[in-house]
């Protein structure tokens, strides 16, 4: 029996030690960028307590259906180039809290990894909650047979965030997960009124961590109100705001992932 992940060419995880740094944002923008390069992308959202992915694509009210091989992922639009799976689609009411201890979370994650009928995908992006606990251990274990491409680690520039991401790097090392690189998110804000740049969450911590640990640095993504607005409204930032301040950095991250995947394939 053919596994549901057999048609997935590359699997990558988006991790962080810290909450609120923009993992789901980076997962979303990476998917949109890869789609614009002509790739078919899936996003598996394993943040069971705070599933953010559905809203970022404006499909939060969609339901999930079953087929012979398992769950049918939710397609974001007509051309079916981006598909999603999230516990967000399984909740009766959007405000319902998922108050589960580890074992129950682990069981659902195993199902999410094995039972979603993704079909053929170029990339499966796995968006995770912050930390190094049940969800992360279970996800990495379940994905191990499928040899993931690796992990992208997201941090904000400050030391308090970098401090947690260092631990996430250790997690990757200990679990044998290759680190594709570090993204320094929320790195600077350019005032739309006067163009003054302010480092609201400091600057440089992510780049320094990459240098210090010998891991590739994928780039700095600035704070961009147009990006935040796009995510709120479930719009395609990559298509609609190519002149926005976060666009070049996000496009560059996607290009590096594409290059990395190509290298690995050859």
């Amino acid at each position: 029996e053919r596994s549901n992940l057999a048609g997935v060419r590359h699997i990558l995880l988006v991790l962080s030690g810290k909450g609120g740094v923009g993992k789901s944002t980076i997962s979303t923008e990476l998917a949109l960028s890869l789609r614009h390069s002509g790739k078919k992308v899936g996003i598996l959202d394993v943040d069971l307590c705070g599933p953010s992915i559905p809203r970022m694509f404006r499909v939060q009210d969609n339901d999930v259906h079953q087929c012979d091989s398992g769950w049918v992922p939710v397609f974001v639009d007509q051309d079916k180039s981006i598909s999603l799976m999230s516990i967000g689609f399984l909740l009766e009411k959007p405000d319902d809290a998922v108050v589960w201890r580890g074992p129950k979370k682990n069981a659902l994650i195993k199902q999410f990894v094995a039972d979603v009928a993704w079909g053929d995908l170029d990339f499966l992006i796995v968006d995770t909650p912050p930390g190094t606990s049940d969800e992360h251990i279970s996800t990495v274990e379940a994905l191990r047979p499928y040899k993931p491409l690796g992990a992208i680690l997201v941090t904000t520039p400050q030391a308090v965030s970098v401090g947690d991401v260092r631990r996430e790097l250790t997690f990757c090392k200990k679990t044998g997960l290759r680190v594709l690189g570090i993204v320094e998110n929320m790195s600077g804000f350019v005032c739309p009124h006067c163009s003054e740049c302010t480092n609201i969450f400091s600057k440089g911590g992510g780049e320094e961590l990459a240098k210090h640990t010998g891991v590739p640095f994928l780039g700095c993504v600035p704070l961009d109100p147009q990006l935040s607005q796009s995510l709120e409204e479930g719009r395609d930032f990559i298509q609609e705001f190519p002149k926005s301040s976060a666009f070049p950095a996000l496009a560059h991250i996607a290009q590096q992932i594409l290059d990395g995947a190509l290298q690995r394939s050859s």
């Binding site: 108050v99 401090g163 006067c194 609201i200 109100p225």
Partner: protein, 233 residues
């Protein structure tokens, strides 16, 4: 007399923010000693039990619960006016355990933090739901990162736009108090990174007055609460 307990086992940020990085926990006859920032501010975190800043705590739920129990049972806090518990994001093991383990003592309530956007609010509604489920009173909600005033031109930008009415609308809808809004101030992150008190470093910042107002409202809630309790007794 204040105690700060950090139960974010995977991502313990409190030691750095308090300027206590590298400190270790000492044991005595009466249990584990908290690490003191000042005479009247003691702190406990898994961060103090790790020997390197690269050490990862890769534990499943039951082991995390075990440590949280130890923190509550074995730390010699002494007489304390306020025990503040900092939690990780989510509604899982840590949250269930802390509520369960503290049920015999009396939790005054929870302060819930959000940023203004719907992406954050949608998770916070779940957290509010969690509090109702476990019968944890809600002291109120704080809207953090609420607007940014450019230091050069003084115009305000909504970096995290409140597209669905922000915490204010959510609090109205869910009948919980909005304790206050804290604006973005680069000095906050800097102070936390340096382990210094932002309130002391930037007394004139609008964020400082926001924090102080919020803290005052929390104190008032707790005072009122105790008064009502004593009335019942």
């Amino acid at each position: 007399q204040v105690a700060l307990l950090d139960i974010d086992i995977c991502g313990p940020s409190i030691p750095k923010m308090m300027g206590l990085e590298g400190e270790q926990v000492h044991q005595s006859g009466s249990g584990w000693s908290p690490v003191y920032v000042e005479e009247n501010l003691g702190v406990m975190s898994v961060g103090f039990l790790l020997s390197s800043p690269d050490d990862a705590v890769i534990w499943r739920g039951p082991k995390k619960n075990g440590l949280i129990k130890q923190f509550l049972r074995d730390v010699d806090w002494g007489e304390v006016d306020y025990l503040i518990v900092d939690t990780p994001p989510g509604t899982s093991d840590e949250h269930l355990s802390i509520v369960q383990y503290l049920s015999a003592a009396h939790i005054d309530g929870a302060v819930i933090i959000t940023t203004p956007q719907e992406v954050s609010l949608q998770d916070v509604r779940k957290e509010i739901n969690f509090c109702h489920k476990v019968k944890l009173p809600i002291i109120g909600v704080v809207e953090n990162m609420s607007g940014f005033i450019c230091p050069k031109c003084k115009n305000e930008s909504q970096i995290f736009p409140p597209t669905t009415g922000g915490a204010e609308k959510m609090c109205q809808n869910l009948n919980v108090s909005l304790l206050g809004k804290v604006p973005l101030d680069p000095q906050i992150g800097r102070s936390c990174d340096k382990g210094q008190s932002f309130l002391s470093e930037a007394p004139e910042s609008p964020a400082t007055s926001s924090y102080r107002n919020i803290i005052q409202r929390i104190e008032e809630y707790c005072d009122q609460h105790h008064f009502q309790e004593e009335k019942i007794i």
